[in-house]
Symmetry: C2
Subunit: 320 residues, 2 copies
Amino acid sequence: MGRLSEGAILRRILDRLAPSRAEVGPGDDAAVIAVDGGPVVATVDTLVHGPDFRLAWSSGYDLGWKAAAVNLADVAAMGARPVALLVALAMPDDTRVSFVEAVADGLRAACEALAPGCAVEGGDLTVSDTLTIAVTALGALETAPVRRSGARPGDVVALAGAAGEAARGLGLLFARFRDPEGTPVAVDDVLLSPSERDAIAAQLRPHPPIALGPAAARAGVTALMDVSDGLLLDATRMADASGVTLALERAPLGPDVDTALTGGEDHALLATFPPGTPPEGFRAIGVVRERGNEAVLVDGVPYAGRTGWDPYRDWDSARG
Amino acid sequence: MGRLSEGAILRRILDRLAPSRAEVGPGDDAAVIAVDGGPVVATVDTLVHGPDFRLAWSSGYDLGWKAAAVNLADVAAMGARPVALLVALAMPDDTRVSFVEAVADGLRAACEALAPGCAVEGGDLTVSDTLTIAVTALGALETAPVRRSGARPGDVVALAGAAGEAARGLGLLFARFRDPEGTPVAVDDVLLSPSERDAIAAQLRPHPPIALGPAAARAGVTALMDVSDGLLLDATRMADASGVTLALERAPLGPDVDTALTGGEDHALLATFPPGTPPEGFRAIGVVRERGNEAVLVDGVPYAGRTGWDPYRDWDSARG
């Protein structure tokens, strides 16, 4: 399985499942399901100790925060407002109750900070050798759900939220907080500059701009998704889904353009809007063109480097 | 954490979370969440390799089936009709794609057999050292949600579905299909009587009576829950939530009353109805009385034995 991409595996699985009856089925940031009375946005994402987080680096609070944030972002990426989380926590039998309480504190704090009105409404606890948290987020729509397939030539490409900060933080953790064998060790803030602390905080406790998802929908956004695997890779997915080329510019992406283009896990919102100034909170980073040979261009040319981060291909869980 | 019950841990966690805004929050079989337009029933349950299933005994198909069935039962236990599943699958990097396809086949088959109209509408794949499947089920209500707290003195206690079959099957697996070190080995059907095969099938691929959940709600059921941890333990929970005593009878519970009373994982539906004959598919197993000293009586006396199965207390994951 390690040789297939997550997308390839998903296609194999989807072939086996019954045809989706949902308004939006598998393949977007979240599903939109018709429940008597109205559409419900629903998504699930799992964090696993090893590939997704390390307890040497993440506290229980950090883990709860991040598990909430990444799922809230998938709801926002449909233009929806998160209304509830369900949390499935599987943990070793010797886990301290205080750790579980800290996870709960992080879940609550992320909801209050990022999506006021959303709370944990259900859950499940099980024993597992591998600490795992699967969060389901449910959301409500004031508008039609926003797909990633609606970008049209002439639209402005815009971004809300950080680009590259979380990846920079992960790089610092790998470079500076591992022992000689590669095993993660606790972060010592004294060894970090303020900017480095911010980057590590962005990795451990990301702040995706949740409220800007429904705001973009109200403002007429044509396509929307959250950037989890890197701007270039996710922009390629949006371009392919929409049948267009996204022509990005380096200038608005800050001083470290390569990290901004390839770094994942910020859960920024990538959007396309009709021509004009994008709504408050979004910054223009390019334009949508008729589909050419490339899905994504950067300053007019294909990007010469790796286009993103596929957790199945790139992460060696034995490392560190 | 191993010394605290799941209930005790949940109470500690719930104290840390924001007050529920849901119509039905944590503490029942599923949450009922108001999404613009109407209530949505939502629940999540996780199966972990080791404590919840063994690959020597369960195929990928079995695992998909069971993961769907147990969550469909939680939706049905609110009187709701399941409409969608989200599946978070975490698996070792060397998992074969054919195994994942078999999980998908089992999920689909369980939905088609137990809850026609319900399908997998979203999901997430991650790498983990421990094979884990967390399924979220969403449901729609035609009636008010049915709590476990509505049983009233004079009501009939009724059961739909198997009682003790899944536990009998698990007992057979432990007794007959482990090597001398206690490690599970593949089931050989030739060694089993037809009745034993049925019991093992009930453990690996349970058939909870999903359609009878909404049917009970239409028929005026006063309290409803699914029996996951054993009839006595779950009846105690219903009695405590309702402030009544459930007076059960041994006679309707079949030849192996002790297994019927204490065995978990059949996901039968335990219900109370106003006096009279319970609706089709339910059999009367007792009556509701004013609350006495005991939450549950069996033929008029407290049950002299263990009252159920708490996965946190009773399962030694190192065993087998």
